[in-house]
Symmetry: C2
Subunit: 454 residues, 2 copies
């Protein structure tokens, strides 16, 4: 498979160079658009555009939607508004809206006015109004709907017309004369009922639906909870305005999961191993700089306790241990909160949650403190100068305090961010580690100052 792909790739490069259009077409003949996209992604932008222009509009459209977003933008940049509108005509409304949303406003307008099919253009304009993180942003306008006042015979006829341009029909929606969603009609029912029966007598009024402005996250949770492959979308008046399919939701869920994973790993941007060095730096450097600035603060904190150097220099050997523990605990706490927020399973008061963290952290801290005293007695005492019982107790008590503090910060910060509409996952990565490092070290040396007195 890999080898076949390579053969096609080099064949394509040669064919494009020789402008052998027949060769290009025969190499790509019968391939799935997603596979064509995979191969095109390895070519230069001009080669890609050359090949895309050779493909039938329908295939070209499908291939473009499968490409990486950055690449899509580059390609759109090279195409005329007329060419883009021909592609858009071939796309489902939700894909068309996604593609158009990447264009600058003026060009977007130009493309839309070039679309021949007025209804299609209207649907796309409607979709462009919604935020991409809402049900409206996920939905497509294509669906199959029948009026409750029709009979089965008429419904089947209308359905066939509606289904013509749809890749797959999942559900038949039932609406009233005012286009308000009433329920759904099962295929089984449709096949087993007299053709004269009125839809209103046979449809199923139990139907899960979402509102256009519902958050995409809630749509995903609903579909997952009730195992829905498709969910209808209604507006403020209960009108049926679109439907969301599980594949779109899955893409959304996966993208969000990837973003969260990158955030906790301190990556500012989506990156893949084969990205350019420049893109890699853009993703990785910002958080490293944040952490470095935090590092300077910890230098200042430690410098503030430099009197300890003369009598209790060994304390400074424990700074990585204290800082790492504080950082780890903070990330753990924030990750639990962020994941619960994403799943919509965060319940109960913040205060109760913080109290629980304190109890939990106390026990975790106690275990680590005992471990520290044991290892200190058995091992560290022999090799560390000046590591006596008092210093061991100092480190042990600090560990408990630092862990409690870090877990409170790790719990509190993402909740506050979420409350103010900022993605709480920001607080899972280097940000929470670094702040906990600094606070942790400050607490450690303050406790040491009180106990040991320097």
């Amino acid at each position: 498979m890999q080898n076949k792909q390579k053969d096609i790739l080099s064949g394509l490069q040669q064919a494009v160079e020789k402008k052998d259009n027949r060769m290009v077409m025969s190499l790509l003949d019968g391939m799935h658009p997603a596979d064509i996209a995979d191969i095109l992604e390895k070519l230069e932008i001009d080669q890609i555009v050359y090949i895309l222009r050779l493909l039938p509009d329908e295939v070209e459209a499908d291939v473009i939607t499968e490409l990486d977003e950055d690449l899509q933008e580059e390609i759109l940049d090279k195409l005329s508004p007329e060419e883009i509108s021909e592609i858009v005509e071939e796309l489902q409304t939700d894909e068309a809206a996604d593609l158009l949303s990447e264009l600058p406003p003026e060009q977007k307008q130009e493309v839309i006015t070039s679309i021949d099919d007025i209804e299609h253009a209207k649907d796309i304009v409607d979709l462009l109004r919604y935020d991409e993180d809402t049900a409206g942003g996920l939905m497509g306008k294509e669906l199959v709907q029948v009026n409750e006042n029709w009979n089965i015979l008429r419904a089947v006829g209308e359905m066939r017309k509606q289904a013509e341009n749809m890749p797959q029909v999942h559900t038949i929606y039932v609406v009233d004369d005012d286009n308000k969603l009433k329920g759904r009609l099962s295929l089984k029912r449709l096949l087993t009922t007299s053709t004269k029966a009125a839809i209103k007598d046979v449809y199923n009024p139990n139907i899960h639906y979402v509102h256009v402005s519902d958050h995409a996250r809630d749509v995903a949770n609903l579909m997952q909870k009730y195992n829905l492959f498709v969910v209808p979308v209604v507006d403020d008046f209960g009108h049926l305005v679109g439907q969301i399919t599980l594949d779109d939701v899955m893409d959304y869920v996966q993208e969000e999961a990837e973003k969260d994973f990158q955030m906790v790993a301190g990556l500012a941007d989506e990156v893949e191993p084969d990205d350019t060095i420049k893109n890699m730096m853009k993703a990785r450097l910002p958080w490293l700089i944040v952490a470095l600035l935090g590092g300077f603060l910890s230098v200042v904190v430690l410098n503030g306790f430099s009197e300890a150097l003369t009598k209790y220099a060994t304390l400074f050997f424990f700074t990585p241990l204290i800082a790492a523990t504080a950082g780890n605990v903070g990330v753990q706490s924030s990750a639990i909160v962020v994941q619960a927020l994403a799943k919509g399973s965060f319940q109960g008061s913040i205060l109760k949650r913080l109290l629980k963290e304190i109890v939990l952290s106390f026990f975790n801290g106690l275990v680590l403190a005992i471990l520290l005293l044991l290892i200190g007695k058995l091992f560290l005492g022999h090799i560390l100068q000046g590591f006596d019982l008092m210093m061991a107790v100092t480190v042990a008590i600090s560990l408990i305090v630092v862990i409690i503090n870090a877990s409170l910060v790790g719990t509190f910060v993402p909740l506050i961010l979420d409350k103010y509409g900022i993605d709480p996952a920001v607080a899972t990565g280097p940000f929470i580690t670094t702040s906990n490092d600094i606070i942790g070290l400050f607490l450690f040396f303050s406790i040491a100052k009180i106990i040991l007195g320097f």
Copy 2:
């Protein structure tokens, strides 16, 4: 909604206490099994079992599959093999197999022999053979298939029978006399072709399929790439043995994403904010202990350079900065590798990848080193005793070396783990941070020793 749930919950508690079975039933009447499950999860185990026994078998079965796995196990523990087999009879084969896999071997055997429907029992036994991370572990045996030698009329009749126990029909598969997968039949084609036409003349032979032993991750990537809602599964001989639906794959993808997220956050187990303190400790303490042990190693490393204390004590103020940078870079590198491995997009040789990391890290390090020199000159120089140009250069050079090293470790370790069949995400959390802390500090002081000479 929340309030209504609370009312039902307290109503249920009272009804169960008074053994008012009618009240229980009327409270839960018409509710979706997933909603019933949500409410039951807030009750005591004995109350849950009491209520489940009152529900009709079909509802009981659906509710149980919606419950948390730990709770499922507790419930199965309280039910007799006969009761469990009655539940299993109501479930789809894949759900039945998932449920049974939680039972101890003997009890599992007892339940299976109590199942009345022999075919259902056989299908479940077949599914229990497969690892849960494979296509076989994800698939269900329920599907609609027609023989290529039938005509449309016969096919429709057989399909109706087959579809009776299925919640939703996504695709009609076409097989030959030997049950080998040949293709699929579109509903549209079925509705628009003469009833006398032979299936073999109208079916579509282009069909994506997976092998029973394919990894679940690859199934997910395939379905996502080609936007499939369902994919058939074949065995070594090309026989059609099951199908996988997108909702099952989505659950798998989400679980994996959650696991990766937890791993990078240093959580050893799936945890939610409302878990018990004991479960929380079980999830959080292991990695904290690993990090603490690493912390001891860093104490030993620093102690090994204690001669520096007399002349270059200020160096020790930089240990959190160096350790944090090393840790962050390591996590970034490993997270990129882990994500690429999960998406199946990791390509090219390891050596090339490592070389790229070196170049990238050199530039990242350079930026941070320059920043450090600037801030050192403008700010730190004034407040830190003994922070002269030589020390600033020492820290700056160390930063570059430490960053390069951490990125190599972060890239290499997950690749090695993956090669030996260990989940590479293990290498994204505290493990990689801690090891990079220790190595980073060792490199820092070694470089300092060479440059400053102590």
